[in-house]
Symmetry: D2
Subunit: 466 residues, 4 copies
């Protein structure tokens, strides 16, 4: 086997890079170069130093050479894999995305994939991804591209639309949480040892962050048959698949699974993402009516101020790790990206849920819309497994979002603010807005984040025309 | 040509029957029996008498024998055509349909096709139509069936689902109003004589009452190119295709076309139904935010009390006509049903917009969903003309309603209140409801109208389970 | 109305130009320039002179200025319509197309659309049409393009594939003959006056030259119900819709309709093209087993030598017309192209069968395959009418040819002789060939016509590789 | 786990039963009843005795009780699985199926799935399967049904068409041979140990016996890249994946893989069934032109007389095994049916290629046509993996057969000999027949086998009508 080159766009990442670096260090049989590229060169440099320290861990089994690139082109040159994980804009923009709509009663728990925040974030992300796709097409068209950036669907859509021959997929761990939840359900209801996530079999379909499990089994057990009993017991008090059932009361990223359970009671299938994400794909009155109601649904509105604080801590930690002041702990994460890379390299077939353009793996969805289903990975191949049909009412909820994403993408691609606004106003989270308020809010959010928009959209003109 | 038999289900109708009787009397070349069946036998009897008086008008050209039937079966026996035009339930139920949701800020202008009112009306209509379809299948399977009842889509869906071999279509005149509007636009902007509706060519697609015109031409004129100028001039003051531009200020059924124009400004295509209908297929905050806002949008909330008054007057008029105390005025209406009947009988090809199961005349919609497009009528045949694709954002609005209708139908068919409620809560007009309020309102509306529901649904059990 | 410019590519045509010039001269309301372009400049010049003489006819109502262009670009400049009607190659190539396969028992009656002749003709046509499409895209992208050249499907496919935004359709009169046949059937079986072709209503679908009528009515008569009786009477003796029922015995272009009748007896629907064309889309053993069997099926194998003779006569006639030695007779033809042009210009809606990319007007066929169905023409618009489904066995026959055409096109586009050969060997007319004979024949036919192929295909290399 | 009941229809089988009994005896974790039903009760009884002897083998790990049923109903009662493996008719009918067409130059190597033999076999099979499907629907609707009978596609189609809720799939080992072939290719070209079939990964799609592998990998090796070299070496001499490369010269069931290799050279993908089957789905002139040419293509025409001899030997062997005169050798076969059963029972996920109605696992094929693709088996679930698209030319070959099978099924279902004949005459193997010869042959073959047809078809009437 020849040495690999893995280009890491956004290689200055403070959290996900760490996970990925660890998993690569533990990937028996792999070796080569990890090419870090980031607009924040210092952060990339820190990750290089951390990577080199990881390589010195006694349990490291794969030999990687870290290299920082100042330009994206040489980073992509000869790449076998391209990892993309960036933050489009800064927390200043995210501040607007998440909090500007609150004055209209639109509360967002995440604000990165759907709702007004998701729309604005998409507007600044797509042009960047257009550039990525064009570079990949020109420089490393045969590379496999793995996207981790949100909004996931729209990033993946951009890659394929700009370069239809691309070999790309989008990876997200939200479904894993729902699978862990199902493992916990088995344990709680049957009193047997909690199986591992890979021991259960789930039928996954939908769109990223609004994915659904339509069937789940463990050995000869239909896990869904256990859910009514489980929900009876835990609905009011909350339950975490990660053991601390009170976590949602104190931690911005935790939740008690009540949203998921409520959806299951209504539709008979399991929404497979964190409740914080799920709530953003339906009418805001359902689960995000007010901060008070959000608490009743056992999750939180994550303030961007908290993300800022957290980031500072992470940078500090990176510095300490890079400088050797904090020891490296090298262990395998729960992520699957490296397993998928190995499967693509011929190390054996693996099944996982990823985001791909629909080619009838989800009949009833447009060809080319980005959908998330189980796929089989093998040498130079990722093939969707045909998904069960969603119940019609769920299908309508998912399809509405899916078409909105497509329209949003096309609007951004055409630089048409009319079309982007059409997707904005049809967001389920915007369903309480009058047309007038919707327009005012949209304008405000664009102005707040115009540093990232002015190069691409004629804001002035559109705003004046209203 | 052999004598026809036309079975008229709902043959006691007080308004539409009159129109139809007139048009039939003026249908040169036709003759035979008109079989009136109605659960209100007296009303049917009155229409028989009126029909016989029409036959004596000097300008009557078609010989019809009117016959009242007490049972539906003999009325259907040997029928060549079956006309269905009924009121499902009474105005007491409609009172609940329309006004019960108001306390939650849900205002409905019509309440018969979409929104909470449309859902409840569908619940009492589908079982009746299941019966109709079964009778037609058994008694006159080759008859052509023309539906006029609302909710149009769901009535037509029921007929085809119960009896897939049926030759049925649904007729509605709402698109005609939009075509008249376009004729007026030509006149106002170009200063030429207003053409007749049949002189313009429109590309029609969508679902009933939420139908769209994607292209409209008159001779070598693209009418859409005239609209911006027209809208500039009339947007604020209102405009009626029927000349009285102030009508919307005083008449419950009139409107100033501002909703239609607003949608055109946003999407570039023309919504082709009365504004009162259109407003019910989108988020209620758009055009139905409050009685005050409705006025700003230049239309009205029609109170059911007004319908009751109006109906009393119509019955009185029927009596006078039947008894000869009021003279008959026999003239052709603007409706097309009789023209379609003639085309089906081989009198020449006619094109009109009707409701049929989708068979790819609207690519991107489910096969079998009821859609409204132009169709060519000829001997024993109705064939859709391929529709232009709707703009994606409009497609999403239409498809959402279309899937909701399908899910509502399937829920009623399965007598599953869970599924019906899923369709209820996903109505665009319900988008301001919390889940709790939605459930409370749904229960209230079912209890209000339970006389028509108890035979089919297990209300008790479902309500208790909540 | 502004003056039109109609660019006529292949404007030196000896027969079709005459028809078209006449119909244009009689098109009330039209005027402008007819731009003739042909690689045979003399022929174009003659048509200019003839056109000018036509303009002087007393019954001429439309004012046209004829102009000959030596280059295609200025001919296309500012064109509102582009007419394309060319002969790809010469009769020398057609000699090979039609007669080379005879030594293997493959007899072709036309050899221009399907079978080995159709494949070779396509190979020299597609590159020319690629050029046309690129020129139109660059010079007159908004023009309406009407194609008359065979192979019709593949020419139209090329135009749309190279320039997806093109407004093109393909016109062919073969269906008209079948409609005339149905008119004659009415006359013969019912003893009433033969109606005109435009008085009957037919449902048309399929691919060019292998088109089908699935339903045909006249007033209240289902014409298909008359066919069994008609066939009983005329099957053995032959029948021509153009009155001379013995014509097929003496005229290379006539036929007795026995093939069409045989297909009707077997499948219940009417193949709607001349029998000479139909026979080339099915196994050659069905109707083209031997010259003797062809005669039994009441049609002829048209030798190319006859075409050469005929062409000489036509050129002579052109000269005489151009020089005024032969008088012009100006009368309307049975063709519809000019009617369609008028409809596109807004003179009123017209329905006719034309060739367009499939967009679900024929469900079950690939999107983008060229299909022939009824379409409604109106201002700047051509819209397919949804076609009845073909009976499954006919669908299989048609789809096989349709997919072969698509594969042939893709093979030529990719300049891949492997793929072209795959389409060659799968022609129904080639079904008696062993793989070895198929390859030998294909090579021979390519070498025979290499003047038109060498610029595009690497014949040498492919032949050597075998 | 509760005891299973496996109903075995055709439980008197002389060969496949043995395989299945062995594999079940070695299926750790399973136990219960095997219910044998066969119209040949003696044969079923023998298999019971053999089964009881197998149970006594020292390496038997699963406890099965064998029970013979005289009627099908009690055999099906409470069944968890239904295995169907029958011979429709006797070898007398197969004699006609295979050999009657030879006088017209139609040579068949198998004659059970396609071609004239396949059609006649289908005509006597479908009515039997209609009965099976109705019984299963009535008696054990939740059972999983595994079909092994040919014609595979049409048997599976019948089961699903009669009882759409059935949980059935069709199993065939032909693809396994092609996979073994690929394993041998690796060994021969790379000189490394031959991997096992389960170590390679293949993308499978198509229809039964005309299935294709579009991609094949082993570790990081693209096996297709090895094929040109392999074919160069073995094309002329022949190669068997089962080591005896001369076998095709002496054994009726062996082949040298030249057909498969020829198809690969022409289309770039691997036909994945025995060459004897593949040759029957394409024009007979390709590989079945004459007995001599068949030999050149390195396979054989299996005479039915040989099958008769072979069957006698097998019956003799069964008797000896049943009576204990021949020792039982209990070992695992290469078949996968029992592995699939275990997966369905929750013993872990397995991937294999099986036959199922298309639900877009093969985009471009009709929904509901029976297709063969990879599927993932797990608890109470079988889910197709999305197949790669076939190259267009191969797609056309496969789709033609697929549509023919559907039309054949619909014709038999409707008892319409016109429609069956349409499918007969369009068989690729019939492509050398004139219409007259086709009809004569079809009539002869029906008369030969009328014992199995008269109950279902009105032969007399149809034959007379011709």
């Amino acid at each position: 086997m020849k040495p690999l080159k893995i280009a890491y766009i956004g290689g200055g990442s403070k959290m996900w890079a760490r996970v990925f670096q660890n998993d690569l260090a533990l990937a028996d049989g792999l070796f080569g170069e990890i090419a870090l590229y980031d607009i924040d060169g210092d952060a990339a440099k820190r990750n290089q130093l951390i990577g080199e320290r990881i390589e010195q861990c006694p349990n490291c089994v794969a030999q990687w050479k870290y290299q920082v690139y100042k330009e994206i082109e040489p980073a992509l040159k000869n790449a076998d894999f391209v990892i993309i994980s960036i933050l489009p804009g800064t927390f200043a923009e995210m501040q607007s995305d998440v909090h500007a709509p609150e004055k209209y009663g639109i509360w967002q728990s995440v604000g990165d994939s759907a709702g007004p925040g998701g729309v604005l974030r998409a507007m600044r992300t797509v042009p960047i991804y257009e550039m990525f796709a064009n570079k990949i097409k020109a420089i490393c068209p045969s590379a496999w591209v793995i996207n981790f950036t949100n909004p996931m669907s729209i990033c993946t859509k951009t890659l394929y639309d700009v370069f239809p021959g691309i070999k790309a997929f989008g990876c997200c761990h939200e479904v894993f949480h729902a699978q862990e939840f199902l493992c916990a359900v088995i344990h709680e209801t049957l009193g047997i040892d909690r199986p591992s996530r890979k021991e259960i079999i789930t039928d996954v379909s939908g769109i990223n962050h609004f994915t659904w499990i339509t069937k789940a089994t463990y050995q000869d057990i239909d896990i869904f048959s256990l859910l009514p009993r489980f929900i009876d017991r835990f609905y009011e008090q909350g339950y975490s698949e990660y053991e601390d059932h009170e976590a949602w009361k104190k931690d911005y990223f935790s939740y008690g699974n009540k949203v998921k359970e409520n959806l299951f009671l209504r539709y008979g299938v399991l929404a497979a993402a964190g409740d914080r994400h799920l709530a953003e794909f339906v009418n805001n009155k359902w689960y995000l009516g007010s901060p008070q109601e959000v608490k009743e649904w056992q999750f939180s509105l994550t303030p961007v101020s908290f993300r800022i604080t957290q980031m500072k801590e992470r940078i500090q930690e990176s510095i300490e790790l890079a400088e050797g002041r904090k020891p490296i702990v090298l262990k395998k994460s729960a992520e699957e990206a490296v397993d998928l890379i190995k499967a693509i390299l011929g190390f054996g077939s693996v099944t996982s849920n990823v985001n791909l353009p629909n080619n009838e793996q989800m009949p009833g969805y447009p060809i080319g819309s980005i959908v998330e289903t189980n796929c089989v990975f093998s040498l130079d191949s990722v093939k969707p497994i045909q998904a069960n049909a969603l119940p019609p009412a769920v299908h309508n909820l998912v399809l509405r979002n899916c078409l909105n994403i497509d329209e949003l993408y096309e609007g951004i691609k055409a630089r048409s603010l009319d079309r982007v606004f059409a997707a904005f106003v049809d967001q389920p989270l915007c369903s309480v807005l009058s047309l007038k308020d919707a327009r005012t809010l949209f304008v405000e959010m664009m102005i707040n984040t115009r540093n990232y928009l002015d190069d691409f959209f004629d804001l002035e003109n559109w705003i004046n025309k209203q």
